[in-house]
Symmetry: C2
Subunit: 342 residues, 2 copies
């Protein structure tokens, strides 16, 4: 077996991967509902080929839990503020169980008021954002979510980093089709993808980041070692990243990306910030045929030559994983199994 | 006087410019409230140095009204759909009077429910978008608006244009300061700026657009003459432009950017689409100190070296205009005066 390369790939059933990750989380101090949220999220990312947010993240979760930086036992406190506004104090725990705790109330309000907002604060988000919005679209709702993260992006026109990678995720129903879902960092590249490039020793395209002197670099290690990322799309992406700070932190009561200090928690990796989710019920829209209209837009996008919709790759990878099992390397699987028993 | 260059600049008091534009609109067939909305919007853009949406737009408004494409007499019909949802049928008129007609109800709902949405359809929007959101921030509210326009942007990865320039505008209050406001086309450049460059005979930067063969070009005339714009920021800006189509058209009951046909109305310039405005009351947020938190973010942005906030230039130009009058060329002023009497 010694000749087996580290990159040899194996498959595992989605439910088995979920159960394995669940055991790792519980083993590392989370309560059961927290483990369930995080295991589902992380296994889904791996299943859908979103590897920067798949099992690649598990060592970071484990070191963070071990450091005492995040409370794996936290019980979110839901506050019904107004007919369209729900707040959650995640209690220093993860954002996903906070969303799960408030989700039913949020959907009820959106269906009644036409629109509702969920403001989560005192929360840690270390995962892909699309798993938070996609289920709303599967229920026929439109959802938009933003989460801020940790200082690693230089605002356009500034000299030093301040913003997080600050993703925006959007999901909308589409008739006779998977929902339309995208999830984009407002940085030129997601932080996890920079880490993966660094691990593989690959150079990045131009325009992604700067080194510790503020000089442009294509070396992902220099970006991670005291350097920083740039926003996507120049001043426009930078303005959107600023908007994410305002919505995900100022409007939730969470920390800005530059405010928390984890220096006393070696191993901590999870940004301690906030998350905002806006849900709209298109049944309230003129004509009440949103999903059919989405479908018409998608058809026209194909007609002008678009070969792949935003987010479509995940659905195609999911189909393959559902048939053949979720792919990961043998080495990754062995590491996960060890972490579940360590 | 014949030696006077076309570019000689003069100043006019804001109220006088507004009154002059008002007369032009009424003279060209709009009712008084419509003229008031459009004159205020257009004069504000000129005052704030946003010249692509200032008096530069007036000939387009006039030719559109003359073509019968837009109904300058339309009376918007406001529909109170749910505790957080207002619809307006603009009746084939302009979007600004539709917003004005629904604005009080929208604000009331946002303050009560915490969040509310205004969906305008059957409307024409030919103006800057920030004047629609900035007043909400001045009342302490957070506002986000999107409007789709007309096919002129090639989706990332496609061969032909489909999307409009599809701007996103955002406004938020900021303590002891002007509000934070931005307004960005999701195209690499706003259509009006391409028109201005073409008029001046200037070349554009790389990455803005393609010619009628789909080949990259820096010539704004080739972009306008059967060519097209590209989205800003590659696939991410393209995904945002798609989102704007879904929110501004599918969710309002308006036309997609590719759906309307103005070929029977020579002179028509105004996209006949929809507009969505989401308003959030940050008084419902945890801690209720949004404006102070905005202030802290702005201070940190300055601390990392940002010399100018997004949208700040408009406020600085406004200060100058308030003191010295609104600048425009003598030629522009004479043309406006002629249009008011023609």
């Amino acid at each position: 077996m010694s000749a087996r390369p580290d990159t040899a790939v194996t498959q595992i059933a989605f439910a088995d991967l979920q159960a394995l990750l669940h055991r790792i989380f519980v083993h590392n101090g989370t309560r059961d509902a927290v483990a369930a949220s995080l295991a589902y999220n992380c296994a889904s990312a791996q299943r859908d080929g979103a590897h920067s947010h798949g099992v690649f993240r598990i060592p970071g979760y484990v070191s963070t839990l071990a450091s005492g930086w995040v409370d794996g036992q936290a019980v979110p406190v839901v506050d019904d503020v107004a007919s369209g506004f729900v707040r959650v104090d995640a209690g220093g725990g993860f954002a996903q169980p906070a969303l799960a705790a408030a989700r039913e109330l949020l959907v009820k309000k959106a269906r009644s008021a036409g629109i509702a907002v969920l403001a989560i604060h005192n929360s840690h988000h270390f995962a892909a954002l699309w798993p938070d919005v996609e289920p709303f679209a599967e229920e026929g709702l439109v959802a938009l979510s933003v989460v801020n993260s940790m200082t690693c992006v230089v605002p356009h026109g500034a000299r030093q980093p301040l913003f997080g990678t600050n993703p925006i995720a959007f999901a909308a129903p589409c008739a006779e089709s998977d929902p339309i879902v995208f999830d984009m960092a407002t940085s030129a590249m997601a932080h996890g993808d920079v880490q993966i490039a660094a691990r593989k020793g690959e150079m990045l395209p131009d325009g992604i980041g700067v080194d510790s002197e503020g000089q442009p670099t294509r070396d992902p290690r220099k970006i991670l070692d005291g350097g920083a990322l740039l926003p996507f799309g120049g001043h426009k992406g930078s303005a959107l990243s600023m908007m994410v700070e305002l919505l995900a932190a100022a409007l939730t009561g969470g920390n800005f990306s530059f405010e928390f200090d984890w220096s006393q928690h070696p191993g901590a990796k999870t940004p301690w910030t906030g998350q905002l989710i806006i849900v709209i019920d298109p049944a309230k829209a003129e004509g009440n045929h949103f999903a059919e209209r989405s479908r018409q837009l998608v058809e026209q996008m194909h007609a002008v030559g678009l070969s792949r919709m935003p987010g479509e790759r995940r659905f195609r990878e999911r189909e393959v994983s559902d048939q053949e099992g979720v792919s990961l390397t043998v080495q990754e699987l062995e590491q996960l199994q060890a972490m579940a028993q360590a």
